[in-house]
């Protein structure tokens, strides 16, 4: 199927609109949008499903800014990094300018990220062909450590990651094939279904959490503020981006690099880049420009390890990798040698999504969000409850999956109430079996000789990268906390 075929273009357009609505409504994240969408994708041709997913995830991250502009409520965690600034910008220069800056910086940031995705994934895949289980062990461990250290609270990140990995141990063990923790139930022999887990953790738990939380704020009407404002949406922000080209490029490049680090993702990229701008005493415009360019460039960056190594860069790519495995597609160097067409299609869809879909859907999506915000909250929650049940059942047509859905919905609710990061549970669910497999294969190969993990030069290099990353991240977090603390203190004094 040609990537410019009507089916793919329609899938991108509809996926983008769907992502825009979910991304804009506070509490409904890109991850939730993707979790509820996956059961549909399983029935579509892979290229069409992937087109919708890429467009959805790119647009949802941008659309998080709509809630921030209209009601000072970020639609996604990636927008939370610069909510204050983008809201103030909307007050001062109008919502059309603020949303236009966000849409264009997102689109161009995504374009830079796509360029690096092509170069980075081809390069990584070529290098990864030489990797053995030792190198893969260190790479997966890097994903685990960066995922834990990127969590807002490290101990909670650790517990969430370990819970996800423990869920991943249910069923046959990956090396010797012994059933574990199945309690004699044959439905658990193949483990917890990844997509059912996802719907339980994000879909059902969202409904339960919103029921407990009570009515929340919704963004105000976006369409009224955007009427007759195409030039303020497109032209003025473009002038600003061109004038601040250096900052834009720096943010996009660093954003892609942060997205590339397994487990870090677009939220982290946006926080780092907007904090750098705050520390450099940048204006509201530059803080927004840096944050929004970085978080969308990071979306493409997260696909570099996902495609070339089979390691998720964030929760969204963790979901996509789970989908790949369900469809029988094995990401990693083999994907590039055996299914290069699919890889090229992914690149092209990213390109089209950046250049065309994001600005267009960004503009149209703002109007659609207006309609969605008129839906009563209870109807929205009822709809998610119905879709959660439907999606979890449709995957295997097995009623037992609904028990798993209820159990994980309850676990997700408890984790949300305790402010534990749910994304880390999903990353643990994907990375846990990989980490165990490479650990056990390496140890069996060398008869439990731990020194063998450091004998191959690349393995030793990756072990040192792990150590450097651990020390570097701890130092960066301490330094940022200190400097932001000092900034807050100065603000209070003033």
């Amino acid at each position: 199927m040609n990537f410019l075929s009507p089916e793919i273009l329609l899938a991108m357009f509809l996926g983008g609109l769907y992502g825009a609505v979910f991304g804009a409504l506070p509490g409904l994240t890109a991850t939730l949008a993707l979790s509820l969408f996956i059961p549909f994708v399983l029935f579509l041709p892979p290229e069409v499903g992937l087109a919708a997913i890429i467009s959805l995830s790119a647009t949802a991250i941008f659309a998080g800014d709509i809630g921030a502009v209209m009601a000072r409520i970020p639609g996604t965690p990636a927008s939370a990094a610069y909510t204050e600034e983008i809201h103030e910008l909307a007050q001062a220069r109008g919502p059309a300018f603020a949303l236009g800056l966000s849409a264009l910086a997102s689109a161009l940031g995504s374009l830079v990220g796509t360029g690096l995705l092509v170069l980075g994934s081809l390069g990584m895949a070529a290098i990864a062909r030489q990797f053995s289980s030792f190198e893969y062990f260190w790479l997966v461990l890097l994903g685990v450590t960066s995922g834990i250290l990127a969590a807002p609270h490290i101990a909670k990140g650790l517990v969430a990651f370990a819970l996800g990995m423990l869920l991943g141990t249910i069923g046959y063990d990956p090396t010797l094939g012994h059933p574990r923790f199945t309690f004699g139930n044959p439905n658990l022999l193949d483990g917890v279904n990844f997509i059912v887990a996802l719907i339980g953790l994000f879909g059902l738990s969202e409904v339960l959490f919103q029921l407990l939380k009570g009515p929340g704020a919704k963004p105000q009407s976006a369409s009224l503020s955007l009427k007759g404002s195409a030039s303020r949406f497109f032209l003025e922000p473009l002038r600003l981006i061109l004038a601040k080209g250096g900052l834009f490029l720096r943010s996009s490049l660093l954003g892609t690099f942060i997205g590339f680090l397994p487990g870090a993702g677009s939220d982290f990229a946006a926080w780092v880049m907007s904090n750098f701008q705050r520390l450099a005493k940048g204006s509201r415009e530059t803080v927004v420009l840096a944050g929004t360019a970085a978080n969308n460039a990071a979306v493409a960056g997260t696909w570099i390890p996902a495609l070339s190594l089979g390691l998720p860069g964030d929760t969204l790519t963790a979901i996509v990798l789970g989908l790949f495995l369900t469809l029988g597609i094995r990401p990693g160097p083999e994907l590039f040698s055996q299914n290069l067409n699919l890889v090229v299609e992914i690149y092209l869809i990213f390109l089209l999504s950046s250049v065309l879909i994001m600005p267009l859907v960004g503009y149209l999506g703002s109007f659609l969000v207006d309609l969605a915000t008129r839906l009563p909250r209870g109807v929205l929650l009822g709809g998610i409850a119905g879709l959660s049940l439907l999606g979890a059942y449709a995957i295997n047509n097995n009623p037992f999956d609904l028990y798993v859905l209820a159990a994980l919905g309850l676990l997700g609710l408890l984790l949300r109430l305790g402010d534990y990061p749910l994304g880390q549970v999903v990353l643990g669910l994907v990375l846990g079996p990989l980490l165990e497999q490479h650990l056990m294969v390496s140890m069996i190969k060398t008869h439990w000789d731990l020194f063998s993990f450091f004998e191959r030069p690349v393995a030793l290099f990756l072990a040192l990268v792990n150590l450097a990353f651990l020390v570097g991240m701890a130092w960066l977090r301490l330094r940022q906390a200190k400097r932001l603390g000092a900034l807050e203190a100065r603000k209070e004094e003033a």
Binding site: L166, T169, D173, G382, G418, W448
Partner: protein, 138 residues
């Protein structure tokens, strides 16, 4: 924050359970299938106990979380989801989906008319898209 501590205790309990259940796993020459769950169990026990005992950093629990009506709604919805595996083979996919959407809407505080509308919309989606178009068994 009470939930933070509660999840800490739950995580530590799951860690102990992982250790306990791994004792029954078949032994191999050297570490076998029990090794990884034990590593995770240790991390869960240590992390969970730290979070259960450490000074809380989160916001206080919201008042809504303590209201009796809200708790009842939550429990009812959870109960419905637990009953769904028995209901589904008897009622079929579309009616069960409609029931869940309607019940969810009602429990979220909307009126009967809106709950019926949500039930009809989701029931129609389940039937037309999943059963007729995608071939999910009814």
């Amino acid at each position: 924050m009470v939930w933070e501590r509660l999840v800490g205790v739950l995580a530590a309990g799951l860690g102990v359970l992982a250790w306990g259940l791994s004792l029954d796993l078949p032994k191999a020459q050297g570490p076998g299938p029990e090794l990884f769950p034990r590593i995770l169990g240790t991390a869960l026990v240590l992390g969970g106990l730290y979070l259960a005992w450490a000074r809380s950093e989160g916001p206080p629990p919201s008042q809504a979380a303590g209201r009796a009506g809200v708790k009842a709604a939550l429990l009812l919805l959870l109960l419905l989801f637990l009953l769904a595996p028995s209901l589904l083979p008897r009622l079929g996919v579309a009616p069960t989906t409609a029931l869940m959407a309607g019940a969810g809407t009602l429990l979220a505080g909307e009126g009967l008319a809106r709950a019926l509308a949500a039930a009809l919309a989701l029931g129609a989606l389940a039937y037309l898209v999943f059963v007729r178009l995608l071939g999910v068994p009814a």
